[in-house]
Assembly symmetry: C2
Homo-oligomer: 330 residues x 2
């Protein structure tokens, strides 16, 4: 798949052929790739969620240390994570590719393989897009999801007294990035951590399961780090939170600091009523590990405790992270 | 609005504040900027159309010859043109900004002013997006529209015997680009042509009017040039077309060749039944000039006539254009 040989329309036609079989049958897409726009028939009683996220060469990833299929996978995965954090199921996606003239055909081919195979696995067909020339490769994805009317999980819906939960384990992506940057991928654990950074598996089913079982009203995906994303949620809800350090699920091979501030883990953080089931029971319902890490407070701000006592964490680190553009630390 | 001073979240917050007032009141957006995704409540009986198009620095425009407000206007306009070509009304948009670290604050400010002012004027509020670092500025927009169920204007719906119409006049954008590249903007006409290239006015109302009055089933917007876009429509419909050169509406200051192959005019091309009203009556209904330029044929291929006789146009030029990636000629 050489973009120079194919030209814009040839490339679009090649992508269209590969994506076409995903919108056959019971698809809600009346029109997919091939018109001025895609046409979606919404289901009665459902709302749509829309999110967009871009992956840029040398900012979010480096070709020389990345399998192109993982780059394609991640470009879609980070968007699916946002869809899931709204409690929605994926419905489809659009992809804009910015292609440098010297891009190797194998990289584009690998990228599309990884992208389309996650699209297929997550029932999120590619229904449109754009192809433009640029000096730097980037992939900008818009993902569309559907959720029962009025039931989307919102950042603004957390209430004082609610318990705070996270799925999976944290810090793995940051630990993987550190190993990748040091060029140190010797053990199976090293490679597992690198995969966590390069090919995250979004919690596709967990968000929708929370909505279906009416277990939660508020969620966010952890893309910027637990502390920061919990901060976003609290800010939008006008509340605060208290987190017990010893309950934060740190991935093997990662540090507690990486779990708190590392980012890119793409786990879900959600709140649930006081009367909600235990983390173990929630984990069974969601089909993944769930940890209870704290509680929402009426008083704004994030309090981190160890053995029940507030501890001072490196707020400087937090501020630096907060002020720096996304991806600058990568 | 200095991205370096504000950081990612500061910049997003600043954009959010400016866009917020556009989603108040009767907006179908339950949630706009500020969550993991925007939430849209579709109207009963309507389908949604989704399209995406990117504008890249030094590929689609040059800062030094562009008013940043026009760049912002155009980034949204080219997407609204696609929405209108589906017969839909705009509902909202998402914007991904790729920002070089050295980007002047006044350029970003101007870009956003132009973008948001067209968003407001066209009732297409900005409801989400992403901000990433890059070496080259680009703006990737996803626009969402709504149209009555089953009534979207499709490229694939043209039928033999239908008459072919275009809105407005053609060739102006190409003529404007030629003048911009020669640095020749002396007369009011020169400036008008340049504006046509840099700040196109999409036919916002025309597509929806065609659907409402059930005047058409098939349309496409003219972004790649009349000949090429008519070719796309014919290909998707499995038909051909015969066009009378003397009926093609050429903008003052442009050549016939520019009108046929120039691109970026963002007028609508549509077909209508044999029994449809005259171009003059259609023009009244759509609120703009409408010209009848030919007819759809059962036999595939584009036949161009002058005084009723087929003429050979530079097919070589057409092929070159067809094979070259979008924007490469700019």
């Amino acid at each position: 798949m050489d973009p120079r040989a194919l030209g814009e329309f040839g490339l679009i036609e090649a992508i269209r052929r590969r994506a076409a079989r995903d919108t056959r049958g019971s698809s809600p897409w009346r029109v997919a790739i091939g018109d001025d726009a895609a046409v979606l028939t919404p289901r009665a009683g459902e709302e749509l969620v829309l999110t967009t996220d871009a992956l840029v060469e040398d900012v979010h990833f480096r070709w020389r240390s990345s399998d192109p299929r993982r780059v394609g996978h991640k470009a879609l995965a980070v968007n699916l994570s946002d869809v899931s954090a709204m409690g929605a199921r994926p419905v489809g996606c659009l992809l804009t590719l910015a292609l440098p003239s010297g891009l190797a055909a194998t990289r584009l081919e690998g990228f599309l393989s990884g992208f389309l195979s996650l699209a297929r696995a997550s029932r999120c067909p590619l229904v449109g897009g754009d192809v433009v020339r640029a000096r730097q490769f980037s992939a900008t994805v818009t993902a569309i999801g559907a959720v029962a009317r009025g039931r989307a999980l919102l950042r603004s819906a957390a209430r004082p007294g609610e318990r705070v939960f996270v799925t999976g384990t944290l810090g793995g992506a940051a630990a993987g990035l550190a190993r990748l940057e040091r060029g140190r991928l010797r053990t199976p654990l090293d490679r597992r951590l690198a995969r966590r950074q390069q090919a995250p598996e979004p919690r596709l089913a967990a968000g929708a399961a929370l909505v279906e079982a009416r277990l939660s009203r508020a969620a966010i995906d952890i893309s910027d780090g637990l502390a920061q994303d919990l901060g976003h949620l609290c800010e939008e809800s006008g509340v605060g939170a208290r987190i017990a350090l010893e309950t934060v699920p740190v991935m093997r091979g990662a540090t507690l600091a990486q779990a708190l501030t590392g980012g890119e883990d793409y786990e879900l953080l959600f709140t649930a009523k006081k009367s909600a089931p235990s983390a173990a029971v929630l984990g069974q319902r969601l089909g993944c590990r769930v940890s209870e890490i704290g509680v929402i407070t009426a008083r704004p701000g994030l309090v981190i405790t160890r053995s029940g006592r507030p501890v001072q964490m490196s707020t400087k680190g937090f501020q630096h992270f907060k002020a720096s553009p996304k991806g600058s630390e990568k």
